[in-house]
Subunit: 289 residues, 2 copies
């Protein structure tokens, strides 16, 4: 009775919707991605993101900087893009080289052009239940996928494993906003299986291949696998699919689950920022008249 | 073996420390409290806060506005205080009259003068593990009290009941930062006793008098009672003290537990903001030279 949540199919559906919306806009949306040339894993993601943009008629440009770039120069690039009227969304591909302060760089992006929703102003609004410009792509994509499969989140016992700013913390808040009871587990959690065994929903974002195993979950559990890594040459997630899937009522595969949803939400965020940008400019024009 | 956490005694100790710090400053700290004249419960809190400031040599002023004040006028008052060089910290006493948008008002306070730490920029920095100007007083006071009693938070199974921006959400984050496993429960949580019975630490902020009862907790639990209300003419918290205290290894009483700590942290926040204010002015002066 296992239901496999098809993130790839849903992403395709979302691209169709975005594409028709883009056709109706008075400005072609534009995303700029900044990446340093030492970030090999990031290059693949960036290519995926660009391909997704192209599919929907969104312009995307990449600025590739040398791995030795100074923090000042990197931030200088961002400040120029903040001012550029043609640019609607900016994304800095992580990780950055170790000599660069990631928080400072992410906070330099205008909150109105923050494609990833990592700026503390957007995170802060989300955290306090206000409306941010954008929400981080992976958590947003997870909620969208759960909605597609009509999962009723209210009252569910949800366990989030991992507490990064990119996935764990924001997905915990989004689940809380949907009235789930949310437990945040992490590397310092003792006896983690006492939490996972009682969970109705598990979001696994440990970064450890096949961390969550079948004997750690109950029958009927919903499992969202955020990880992606390679084990013995094969792609795998943070969930041991063979043992967990038979017990799950819904599970995301790797690949084809959360990954495509993350990319789709980046394109969605770019569209949303563009629409607000157009609206702001119209307001300016009206004030000018 | 129950240990009662004496918030009042710790607050006194903190006032002594603050007082000697204030004596050494080049500027007398100044807190301004804004309150509307329909807020009767708030008047008592404001008086307590002022008294605490006086004890430590901090100036405090109150601006009392008519309950019919417009949002524009209220925000106008805040903007003036933001610019006033003599003012180091601003607090708007909640609740505000229903015709006023509380979020807009709180976000109008300069994040550098945000005595309560409710501005989304400060909340956002706290949420993402950055350093905010101030942290909300009640959660900050709870952590300070737990530290005083040498509670080792790492690995504890902590359950927070209530998810307000003022207490529940920020205390959950602070506990998470200290490596506790944190579950956020609320009014939509099903079978809440299954969570509380396994908890090593419970923070109860439901606003319902004597909500948490002895049969809902395990032996040795640490209990933080955030509530204060009146039942049959007697002050009580969100915890049924008579039945919970005998099982607890540490518990905060009502009154005399979290309440005095909240006020002490407000005074602490005012001092901290003043110190930053003085530092910023010195930097300006140096730049000018």
């Amino acid at each position: 009775m296992t239901n496999i949540a098809d993130g790839k199919a849903l992403a395709s559906k979302i691209y169709e919707q975005i594409s028709s919306e883009v056709d109706g806009l008075s400005k072609i949306p534009m995303l700029v991605v900044i990446i340093t040339n030492d970030n090999e894993a990031g290059q693949i993601y960036v290519r995926n993101k660009q391909r997704a943009c192209e599919k929907t008629g969104i312009l995307s440009e990449t600025i590739e900087l040398d791995a030795n770039v100074s923090e000042k120069e990197l931030i200088g690039n961002i400040l120029k893009l903040n001012k550029d009227e043609l640019v609607d969304a900016i994304l800095v591909q992580l990780p950055l080289p170790p000599h660069i302060d990631t928080e400072r760089v992410l906070n330099a992006i205008s909150p109105k052009k923050d494609a990833d929703g990592f700026h503390y102003i957007n995170a802060g609004k989300m955290f306090t239940g206000q409306i941010p410009n954008t929400v981080a792509c992976t958590p947003k994509g997870i909620i969208r996928l759960l909605d597609e499969y009509k999962v009723k989140l209210e009252g569910l016992n949800a366990v989030v494993i991992g507490r990064s700013n990119i996935v764990g913390k924001p997905i915990a808040q989004l689940l809380l906003q949907r009235n789930a009871t949310v437990t945040m587990c992490h590397s310092k959690t003792k006896n983690i299986e006492t939490f996972t065994k009682n969970a109705d929903l598990i979001v696994c974002a440990t970064g450890q291949p096949e961390f969550l195993k079948g004997d750690m979950v109950k029958d009927g559990v919903i499992v969202i696998d955020v990880g992606i890594s390679r084990k013995d040459g094969k792609l795998c997630g943070d969930v041991e699919f063979e043992t967990v899937a038979p017990k799950a009522s819904l599970i995301t595969p790797v690949p084809g689950g959360v990954g495509p949803m993350t990319v789709a939400m980046l394109v969605q965020n770019t569209l949303d920022l563009t629409k607000k940008h157009i609206e702001d400019n119209q307001k300016k024009y009206i004030t000018f008249l």
